[in-house]
Symmetry: C2
Subunit: 362 residues, 2 copies
C-alpha cells in the first residue's frame, strides 16, 4: 500500500482483532445472517484489516454491506446452488448473498475436486461483494494447493482508447504455500489503481497519481490531481496509456469477465448493471504435479532470490507479493487494527441502530 | 502492434503463406526434426507472421531456433515424457526440443483431460522457445474450450524497486471461442513491453517509449530514448513504476514462474540460467459450466459492446484483444507476409547452407 493511503497516526483509534471480529459477527447476525455465515463473512473482512488491505476491510466495505442487506438488495439467507457439475468443475449460484460468505464455500468445493482429480475450477454468480480476492486464493494454499481467485463486477474502467466505463476493476489473486517465508500472495486489480483506493484517497484528502484516471472523455490524466466528482472521471486499466501497455490491463479485465461472468452463466456488468459480483476460483493440487516439499523449497529459493535483489538508488529493499501484508498482520495482531475516528462513529451509530454491543477500542 | 514497429512499406518484400510455410518446414527437417514436428513448429511461426505478431514470427525467431539446433543446445529428436499424471493434470518434460513443437502436443493432452473431467491443466519443462503463447491457447478455443497459456523463461525484467534482472517477460494468453466476431485472444508479456519488441525497435532504429526500460541501476527511464547496449539496461514490469502499478506486472511475472517453472519441477531462470522455457497450459471445457451456444452469444454481446464504446478525442475506435490480429490475418492471407530485406538475405544464406530450396517471394 502506498504511503499516501495510511491513516495518519495521530488520528487513528486502535481496536483488537478479537473485538472487531465480535462486533462484525454481531452486526451480520443482527441483519439475519446465520452464525456460521456471519463468522465466515467476518473472517474475510478481518483478513483485509489485519493484512493492511484497508480498501477491503471494515472501513470501506462493512457500511456498504449493511446498507445492501437493509435495502433488501442482498438476501441474508441466500443459499448456494450447484447449476452444473463435472469431476473437476462446478458452476455455482450464490443465492444473492455476499461473496465473502459464498466465495469461501465455493473455493472449498474446488479444493475437494482438486484433491480427487488434481484440479478444481468453480464459477460463482449472483453474489454481492467478494472482499479481498486474496482470501479465497489463500484457502487453497493452506491445503498445499495453488489457489487462483478472480472477480468481475461493476463498470468503472474504460477500455484502452474508450470514453465510457465498461469494466470492473476485476482483481486477480494467486496464492502459493511456503515453509517459513511469508506465502506468495498476489492480489491486485487489473485497473491502474483499485477502485476503493480512490474512495480512500478522497476520504484522506490526498491527490491521485498521474495515470490513475482519465477525464470524463477518456483522455488519461497524466499529472497529480484530486479526484473529480463522481461521473466526471473514468478509471484506467493497468498500464495507464496504450504506449505503456494499458491494452494489457484492459485485456486482463476482459479475461476476468469471460472466466467469472460468461463462463458462470451471468452477464458482465456492462450488459446488466444489476448482475452483481461474479467469481472464478481454481485450486491446483501441487502433489498432482510434483513433490510438495520440493515445490516449497524451490519456491522459497526463488522468493529469497527476489528478496536479495539489490535495490535501485534511493530505495530500501525489494519484496515480493505477500511480504508487506504478512508484516502488517504480525504488527496488527499484536498492536491492534487502526481505524479512522469517522469509522468508529459509524460503528457506534450502527451498533446502536441494530441493538448490538458497542465496538471496544484499545 | 504500435505503428513504430511496422516494417516501412518501401522496404518490405512480400512472401506467400504457402511459400514461407514450405521453406520453414524444410529448414526444420534439414536440422533433423521429424516431418510432423516440423509441420507443427512451422504452424506456430506462421501463425505469428500471419497475425502480425512480427516479434514471434520468422524474422526474429527462426534464426535463433536454427542456431540452437546447430549448436546442439536443442535436440531435434527430443521426445515428450509425462512425469506425473492425474485425471485432470499432467506434468510433462519436453525433451529439450522447441516449445513450439511440444507445447501444442501438451495442450492437446490438456484438452483431452478437459473433455473427460471439465478441466485439463498441464505443465511443460525442458523446452526451447514457446513462440506466440496465444497459439497454444487458441488450440483449446477451437475445441469450444477456454484456453490459457503461460510461459516463463529468461531473466530480463527487474522486480519493482530492483536493480538486477530476475524475471522473464513471462507472457499470459487466454483465448475464448466466438460465432462470427473474431475470437477473444489476449496475448501479452507481463513486462511493460515484450522483449522482442526491443530487438525489433533496435533493428528499425526507432526510440523506446518512456516507461519501457530502466537504466542499468534500476531507475525507470521516463523519457523517449534509444535502446542502450546489452547489459546497460533492465526491462520494467507492466505498470513501469510502483506508483503506476509495476508491482502488479512484477507479481504476474512471478505468478508465471510459480505455475510454469516451480509447479512443473523446473527452476526459474533466475536460479538456473540454462533451465530453458517452461509452460503452464489449461483448457476449461465450456460445456461443463454452461451451454456453449449461450456462452458464445453472451461473449459476442460483450465484445460488440466493447467495439461500440465511443472513442476518446483524437482516437478512431475501440477494439478488443484479437481484433487487430484477425484483421492482419485476413490481409496477409490474401496479400502475403511482409519481410525486411535483411530477413530475406538470412533465408537465402540459410537455405544455401542447409541445402534447402530458396524461399519464393511474391
Amino acid at each position: 500500500m502506498l504511503e499516501r493511503f495510511h491513516v495518519p497516526t495521530a488520528d487513528e483509534v486502535r481496536v483488537s482483532e478479537a473485538a472487531l471480529r465480535t462486533t462484525v459477527e454481531s452486526i451480520f447476525m443482527a441483519l439475519g445472517i446465520a452464525a456460521e455465515d456471519a463468522r465466515q463473512g467476518a473472517d474475510v473482512l478481518l483478513y483485509a484489516d489485519l493484512h493492511g488491505v484497508e480498501t477491503h476491510g471494515v472501513s470501506n466495505m462493512l457500511r456498504v454491506y449493511v446498507r445492501q442487506y437493509q435495502d433488501g438488495r442482498l438476501d441474508p439467507t441466500g443459499e448456494l446452488t450447484i447449476l452444473n457439475e463435472r469431476p473437476s468443475t462446478a458452476a455455482i449460484d450464490g443465492g444473492n448473498t455476499l461473496g465473502i460468505i459464498q466465495g469461501p464455500k465455493a473455493m472449498r468445493i474446488a479444493i475437494e475436486k482438486a484433491r480427487n482429480t488434481g484440479a478444481g475450477i468453480v464459477t460463482v454468480r449472483n453474489v454481492g461483494h467478494t472482499g479481498a480476492v486474496g482470501y479465497h486464493a489463500m484457502l487453497a494454499a493452506h491445503e498445499d494447493m495453488i489457489g487462483v481467485s478472480l472477480t468481475a463486477g461493476g463498470a468503472l474502467v474504460a477500455p484502452t482508447f474508450g470514453a465510457e466505463a465498461r469494466l470492473g476493476t476485476n482483481p486477480i489473486a494467486l496464492a502459493a504455500p511456503t515453509k517459513t517465508l511469508p506465502p506468495f500472495l498476489f492480489d491486485a486489480a487489473t485497473s491502474s489503481v483499485a477502485g476503493n483506493k480512490l474512495i480512500l484517497a478522497s476520504r484522506l484528502g490526498v491527490t491521485l497519481h498521474p495515470g490513475w484516471i482519465a477525464s470524463w472523455n477518456g483522455t488519461p490524466i497524466m499529472e497529480e490531481a484530486h479526484l473529480p466528482e463522481r461521473g466526471q472521471f473514468l478509471q484506467l486499466p493497468l498500464g495507464s496509456t496504450r504506449e505503456m501497455g494499458s491494452h494489457k490491463g484492459y485485456g486482463l479485465a476482459v479475461m476476468n469477465e469471460i472466466l467469472c461472468s460468461i463462463l458462470g452463466s451471468a452477464l458482465p456488468s456492462m450488459l446488466d448493471a444489476d448482475s452483481g459480483s461474479k467469481q472464478f476460483l481454481a485450486a491446483y493440487d501441487i502433489s498432482a504435479f510434483c513433490d510438495v516439499d520440493k515445490f516449497k523449497e524451490s519456491l522459497e529459493d526463488m522468493l529469497q532470490k527476489l528478496l536479495d535483489t539489490p535495490p535501485a538508488p534511493g530505495l530500501e529493499r525489494v519484496i515480493y507479493p505477500g511480504v508487506a501484508e504478512e508484516e502488517e498482520r504480525a504488527e496488527r495482531s499484536a498492536g491492534g487494527i487502526p481505524l479512522h475516528p469517522e469509522v468508529i462513529e459509524w460503528f457506534n451509530a450502527t451498533c446502536d441502530e441494530l441493538g448490538v454491543a458497542q465496538l471496544e477500542t484499545l
